[in-house]
């Protein structure tokens, strides 16, 4: 009897322990799930011709670190899984597929326009929210837009239209143009000239004074001397961006071109277009613009620039600011959706208002997921505080006014189909 009781006691004890352990194990698993990171895919041009955009990676990482330090999103930390598109559309598509297969809730991209356009149909087909942080090509949210692609910054339509409106007020009548012979070089120049001609019938591009420099060329001396010989009132060099833009400015300054001819370039003050220029290289007075102007004119931008510099020991480019804004937008979207689900996130992001360091509070338009972010304009100068090219007396134009309306977007998409 005593032995029986002993065995019964052991069995009861084991059963009780078992009953207690199972829910405990369950609780541990639930806790683990709660703390399991939310995976976010990241596609970056870390190598290849457009590697300047890899600063976006630092901007996104900074935002993730800040968010995780404050408890994460929905009680879970964010984790970026990064892939390099090697500045190639094909590699970008591969990276997108791989990330989608890893179960990321969304993908943030700091690539150039062609990569974004190549990956965009995948975002639509796989129903993954794709937050684009670089690529100013209008098509991304216009003709090729869909419910799963979101652009957190402006597009080329805003700064080319606003710039055309601005330069139409100048007395200049006789123009020369020069651009690198690539997609934006042609389209940017055409859009500004088109806008200018619509507003000023007396403006002309001098015969034989519209130059297209080959991609890869960095010595523009023959073009500069030819332009000087033509003596125009103004030179539109909107399509000279990144390295060619910097080289052109330096060489033109040596020939004192901008002392004789008004220089016009809507994006030259962007860090990605003039970050390598030194004080000696910068001609004063070029009418230009940026979406990350130095010195930062807004307190939010100043705070971002300082935080970024403390973390990475260098100054941010526009890609970094856009990526930073994107990750915070993603956080807000997940909190609005209240769950980690691609479809719910895509729906939650529609029409959201968010804080962009450069642009303040802006919103995603509900019918094309295009940000209403605008553009900073001013005159090119040297910013002694941050030791780089900057904007003198900057002013801001709102993006909404220059973007296409809902009906126009619908028509473009219908034509595209």
């Amino acid at each position: 009897m005593r032995r029986m009781l002993g065995w019964e006691a052991v069995c009861v004890l084991l059963a009780v322990l078992g009953l207690l352990t199972v829910p405990l194990l369950g609780t541990r698993s639930a806790v683990a799930q709660l703390r399991e990171p939310i995976l976010v895919g990241e596609i970056v041009s870390a190598s290849g011709a457009f590697a300047v955009h890899h600063h976006g990676q630092h901007g996104a990482a900074l935002a993730v670190e800040e968010i995780n330090a404050k408890g994460g999103v929905l009680g879970r930390p964010l984790q970026l899984i990064t892939r390099d598109d090697k500045s190639s559309g094909e590699e970008g598509v591969k990276a997108f597929r791989e990330l989608a297969g890893m179960g990321v809730v969304a993908i943030v991209g700091h690539s150039f326009g062609a990569t974004v356009l190549a990956s965009s149909p995948l975002a639509r087909d796989l129903r993954i929210p794709y937050l684009v942080n670089m690529g100013y090509t209008a098509e991304i949210t216009e003709k090729d837009g869909h419910p799963y692609i979101f652009r957190t910054f402006t597009n080329e339509r805003v700064f080319t239209r606003a710039f055309a409106e601005m330069i139409a007020k100048l007395p200049a009548r006789r123009y020369c143009t020069i651009a690198v012979d690539f997609v934006y070089g042609r389209s940017g120049t055409a859009q500004i000239l088109g806008g200018l001609r619509a507003l000023r019938k007396d403006v002309e591009v001098l015969p034989g004074c519209q130059y297209w420099a080959p991609v890869g060329q960095l010595d523009f001396t023959p073009y500069i001397t030819a332009i000087l010989g033509q003596k125009p009132d103004a030179l539109l060099f909107a399509g000279m961006v990144a390295l060619p833009g910097e080289a052109f400015v330096k060489q033109a300054k040596a020939f004192r071109l901008f002392e004789q001819i008004q220089g016009l370039h809507p994006t030259l003050a962007m860090p990605g277009n003039s970050g390598g220029l030194r004080r000696e290289d910068i001609p004063e007075g070029i009418l230009t613009g940026s979406d990350l102007p130095y010195p930062p004119p807004r307190p939010e931008l100043r705070a971002f620039v300082e935080a970024y510099r403390r973390r990475w020991n260098h100054l941010p480019t526009e890609a970094a600011a856009h990526a930073y804004a994107s990750v915070y937008l993603l956080k807000a979207g997940l909190e609005k959706a209240k769950r980690v689900d691609r479809e719910a996130l895509a729906k939650a992001l529609v029409g959201m208002t968010y804080l962009h360091p450069s642009h303040g509070w802006v919103r995603l338009r509900p019918f094309d997921n295009q940000s209403t972010a605008g553009w900073w304009f001013g005159r090119l100068t040297w910013d002694p505080t941050y030791g780089r090219a900057g904007l003198a007396d900057p002013w801001y134009v709102e993006g909404e006014k220059y973007l296409l309306g809902e009906e126009q977007i619908k028509r473009l998409r219908a034509l595209g189909r």
């Binding site: 519209q210 960095l218 001396t221 001397t225 010989g229 390295l243 080289a247 040596a254 020939f255 220029l277």
Partner: protein, 289 residues
């Protein structure tokens, strides 16, 4: 009108200066070793970045820029000699496709090295304004451009004299014309190949240091430079070094005045010239059989 033509002439001569310095290296190495140095542009780019790095230390000292002009080609030449000894010579006499593989690898390696050390943004040596502005007969241009033209013209004359008048030059020409006969006569072909490779990379180094104040040192400048150099070698042919210089001037003039005459076809002019020369005179304008 004459001011416009004068400006285009200056521009043509500056382009020709860089073209010659780049092409002379390719010309020498191919002539002596029958080796197509595709990585020639990489030495040009590396030298540009080296000029920037040394410029950070020396540029503010008296004659700082000239220290760069003296040092960078020397370093490039030494690097070239070392590379020739360690790697390049193993591929002499190999089929062209086998020669190309290590060169393509080298292009990527040097490019990644530059990106790793100096980052992806272009670097400049700010001396363009230090040489003032020159005005000749109503044609005003930066004094630095006169420096580039002057240095390049000086190097052309010295190189021409060395190749045509010195014993070393005779050896180079002998090996270029008939390497077996030269070897039979006791010419140390192996040593000569190293020396020629060093001179070639030093010339690329000189072009690199001179170009940085104008267009900056940047990733990607290697590929465009090597294309330009090959255009001059193809158009000029493997004749005399002065022929290569004349070809560089011709290509420079074609670029500069082509832009002035038909800007929409500016890209095509030089390649049209190359195609024409290949059709009419396949061995090049100054080439010898």
């Amino acid at each position: 009108m004459h001011a416009l033509l004068g400006l285009q002439l200056i521009s043509a001569l500056v382009s020709a200066s860089f073209l010659f310095l780049l092409a002379a290296g390719v010309w020498l190495v191919f002539g002596v070793s029958r080796f197509l140095n595709l990585a020639h542009g990489s030495f040009f780019m590396l030298s540009g970045f080296l000029a920037y790095a040394l410029g950070e230390t020396f540029l503010d000292r008296p004659g700082g820029f000239w220290i760069l002009v003296g040092t960078v080609p020397l370093l490039a030449g030494l690097a070239g000699a070392g590379l020739e000894r360690v790697l390049i010579r193993r591929f002499y006499g190999a089929p062209l496709r086998v020669q190309l593989l290590p060169m393509v690898a080298l292009i990527f390696m040097i490019s990644d090295l530059c990106r790793y050390i100096w980052g992806e943004f272009p670097k400049s040596v700010p001396v363009l304004g230090r040489f003032g502005v020159i005005s000749i007969g109503g044609v005003t241009f930066p004094g630095y451009y006169a420096v580039v033209i002057g240095v390049s013209a000086g190097v052309t004359l010295i190189l021409g004299w060395i190749v045509q008048r010195t014993r070393w030059g005779r050896l180079v020409r002998a090996v270029a014309q008939d390497r077996e006969m030269a070897a039979a006569c006791g010419v140390d072909e192996s040593r000569l190949a190293t020396q020629v490779f060093a001179v070639g990379t030093a010339l690329a180094g000189l072009a690199g240091v001179l170009v940085v104040p104008i267009s900056g040192a940047s990733l990607g400048m290697d590929v465009s430079a090597v294309i330009d150099a090959f255009v001059v070698v193809v158009v000029g042919g493997l004749g005399s070094i002065l022929g290569a210089a004349a070809t560089a001037v011709l290509v420079g003039l074609t670029q500069a005045f082509g832009i002035l005459v038909l800007p929409q076809f500016a890209i095509a002019f030089v390649f049209a010239l190359m195609a024409l020369v290949l059709m009419v005179r396949p061995k090049g304008l100054f080439g010898v059989d």
